[in-house]
Amino acid sequence: MTSMTAEPAHRQLGMTDEEYESVIEILGREPRPAELAMYSVMWSEHCSYKSSRIHLGRFPSEAPWVVVGPGENAGVVDLGDGWLAALRIESHNHPSFVEPYQGAATGVGGILRDIFTMGARPIAVWDPLRFGELEDAHNRYLLNGVVSGIAGYGNAVGVPTLGGEIEFADRYASNPLVNVMALGILKREQLVLSAASGVGNIAVLLGAATGRDGIGGASILASASFDEQSGAKRPSVQVGDPFEEKKLIEACLEMYERGLVVGIQDLGAAGISCATSECAANGGMGMDVDLDSVPVREEGMTAGEILMSESQERMLAIVEPKSVTDVVAVANKWDINASLIGTVTEGGTLRVRQHGELVAELPAASLSDDAPKYNRPTARPQYLDNLWAQGSDEAAAGDLADVLLALLDDPAIADRSWIYQQYDHQLFLNTVVEPGHDASLLRIKGTEKALAVSTDGHGRRCYLDPRRGAARLVMESALNVAVTGTKPYAVVDNLNFGNPEKPEIMWQFTETVEGMSAACELLGVPVIGGNVSFYNETDGVDIYPSPVVGMLGFADPMPENPPRLDRAEEDMEIWIVGPDAAPDLAASAFSRVIHGRLDGRPADIDTDLGPRVIAAATELAGSVPVLHDVSVGGVAVALAEIAIRSECGFTVGNVDWSQLWSEAPHRLVAVCPRDGLPELDVPARRIGTMGGATLNFLEHGQIAVEDATSIWREALPRRMA
């Protein structure tokens, strides 16, 4: 990136020679510097999805309740009676590695803007995370920084964080994943889209002043791999300002309520370039933009810098001339800047001026619509045959106490309250089932409606079989929201992958899209949005293929007393609901923690029983006090979690050793009073009874609830102290 290299400008900006040629073709001339800057950022992988776009159409995205599907800032679904919900997920992986606190903080800020851009009030955030193993001090530093950053921003901006998930593996050590998902709700009449309609309408820039923050952030941090040189990329760190964002949220929501804006767009990657061109293109319009009207934080900023800056906490509103005074008044009320920077024009041309000179003149739509699309080659990785051959579905025998305590001490299984107690998870008084359960459940005040959300990923399983792994994520996430009494309603996904220029990585990607799509089709759940993060590769090592699913569940009415993990009592019956499947230990916690193995081929989903178990779970949640899906750590861990949270032991039999640790899909534990479970159309069998002070697995052994509890509670704080 220094001038010492005699590279042509476009290559320094990460653009290939062919891409540069197409710019010349579009413009019919060489681009001016600011124009080149705009194309380079807008055509980066991060902004243009050039390697993934042709595959994403595979996702089923239609359903009668979908109001806004993929493509807008957030997906929107209909909840009836005029209520809508908006959902969106994003990654902030590379920025969080460079500076964990600010990277994660600005990730939260960005995802919230996607939500209130739609007219919705953001009401909750989730944070799926991946780090290297906690034995290493730097990984602890990263985890600590990321959690503090999410807390620091999310709490202060006044949006509760209601959960997330976390995994640890060496593969993530120099490439941690920080995904953030946000949910908003709105009344139908408040829905706003990012289209600039109406010649003569004014583009008003709201919020923070523009500095040199994150210049080239989108194209450089998120669209290229890391190597030892990454130090040079550091100046592009951005500092989040949750206070500015909070004011921006309140001001924008007030403007929507009063009908003062006709369109709005948040400024994220590619800043003003992206917001002005997208608003114009979405409305089939052009725009004249005057950079001298943009409030700047630093002197001497060039046109390219102002256009590309990723300064946080800014929005671009499209306002009819008659409403401009009112928009400025609302901004003044909330002490935020409002600057009139542009005018909507006829004809589709984006014209940008600085100091009276034309610095860019280009077809607005060309920045997004004409971006390159690549159909990159795919190849099935060779590692798979060996790994599949090595797997065994028999769990080597061991001592129950040793195995179970080792699993409960694993930071990916143990109590996660060290994380979520740093997050405000109660604000707005909606949280009925708080983090620490399969899914969090929120009521919508003033209605009988409720939403449940779960985020799920499993990099190791997807590494062993991306198609099956991805399908299972969808099924697991659906089961997680079902056990709170909601029906799976919509999905957003975040596809975190390595370098797409490697055919093996592209294969993992296409397999994942296929598996996820098939499972969503099976459940009839539309994919309403997503995000792709490629180039999660450092020094040639790619992360595990790490798709993350965010599942929204919906209930109307909400069950009166939704299941919770702490509602089991002495004498209650314990049941397993779901197929009596063969043990599934590939990528299980048992193989990883006890044997340090990652091999075998994970079981596929059961296309018949899977959806039926999910439906049964939603049904059961109306009457059963405890429902818990069986996932990481198998039945043994699921039971232990119930015992720990309910402070009550149990005795179970009729589960063989391998079955205790098997992570076969579509199963859940139900705990109910003496009179048993209601009639079900899926297999269910009783395995034991609550009571006593031990987790008693009969012939396999037992441990005291107290011992299990202290190991499980201390695992994370002990490591992070």
């Binding site: 206070f243 740093q422 405000d424 109660q426 604000l427 949280t431």
Partner: protein
């Protein structure tokens, strides 16, 4: 009675407080900080959040908001003035309550329910409770660590101005029960006449069984109870 609930820029618990007051039948209305008058109100609540981003010092900038002159006047007139969490911090900064709040002992944000023992029943937050009552209320703060010099601490203890202490479930005040390092486990205090009262945990988050606790109703209900008490004087 009618209560004003103040919105500073960065405040976020205002609607939750209104909801809580609504449940106990108290008429509450939001008031923006740029307003200057509290005419027609019988009391005021400064709710939780991050007024002015908590920049500079928590509560420091908010106390210069235009509305604050009226809040001070209301405090002087003996009407209930209640600060919850960030509102408590603002009242301390404004000098209406003794002491200050600094970063939690472990330097991390804490969001979890805690037990509080009621230490005095003559304030705007405790008039409806009994000394020795134990209530379970969610805490949600980074700067919840109450500090004051020894002289001040001695003085407010002697005066019955300590309203709540962090305790275990049976009401015993222990080090283990102190979540944030607060001096002498103090979670809430009042001024000498009890009409100005501040508390770190959020009573408005414990107002319905479905949210996990209803104990907050006792504290919010103390505002009208206190009002009736002084009104009767």
């Amino acid at each position: 009675m009618k209560i004003a609930v103040v919105i500073f820029p960065g405040t976020n618990c205002e609607h939750d407080v209104v909801h809580g007051l609504d449940l106990i039948g108290v008429d509450a209305e939001l008031v923006f900080h740029k307003q200057t008058s509290l005419d027609g109100f019988d009391g005021v609540v400064l709710p939780g959040g991050f007024a002015h981003g908590d920049y500079l010092r928590t509560g420091a900038i908010a106390r210069f908001s235009p509305i604050m002159d009226s809040v001070v006047a209301m405090a002087d007139s003996g009407k209930p003035v209640v600060g919850i969490c960030n509102g408590f911090q603002v009242l301390c900064e404004a000098g209406l309550l003794p002491g200050a709040l600094v970063a939690n002992r472990d330097l991390s944000f804490i969001c979890k329910p805690v037990n509080l023992r009621v230490e005095s029943n003559t304030s705007a937050l405790t008039a409806g409770a009994n000394v020795g009552d134990v209530v379970r209320i969610p805490l949600n703060s980074y700067e919840g660590n109450y500090v004051a010099d020894d002289e001040t601490l001695g003085h407010i203890e002697a005066n019955g101005q300590v309203l709540f202490r962090y305790s275990d479930g049976s009401g015993t005040v222990t080090d283990d029960a102190n979540p944030n390092g607060s001096a002498r486990n103090i979670a809430g205090v009042s001024n000498e006449s009890g009409n100005v009262a501040g508390l770190m945990p959020h009573p408005e988050r414990a107002v319905e069984q479905i949210l996990g606790s209803m104990d907050g109703l006792l504290l919010l209900g103390s505002i009208p109870a206190f009002f009736d008490l002084v009104g009767a004087k």
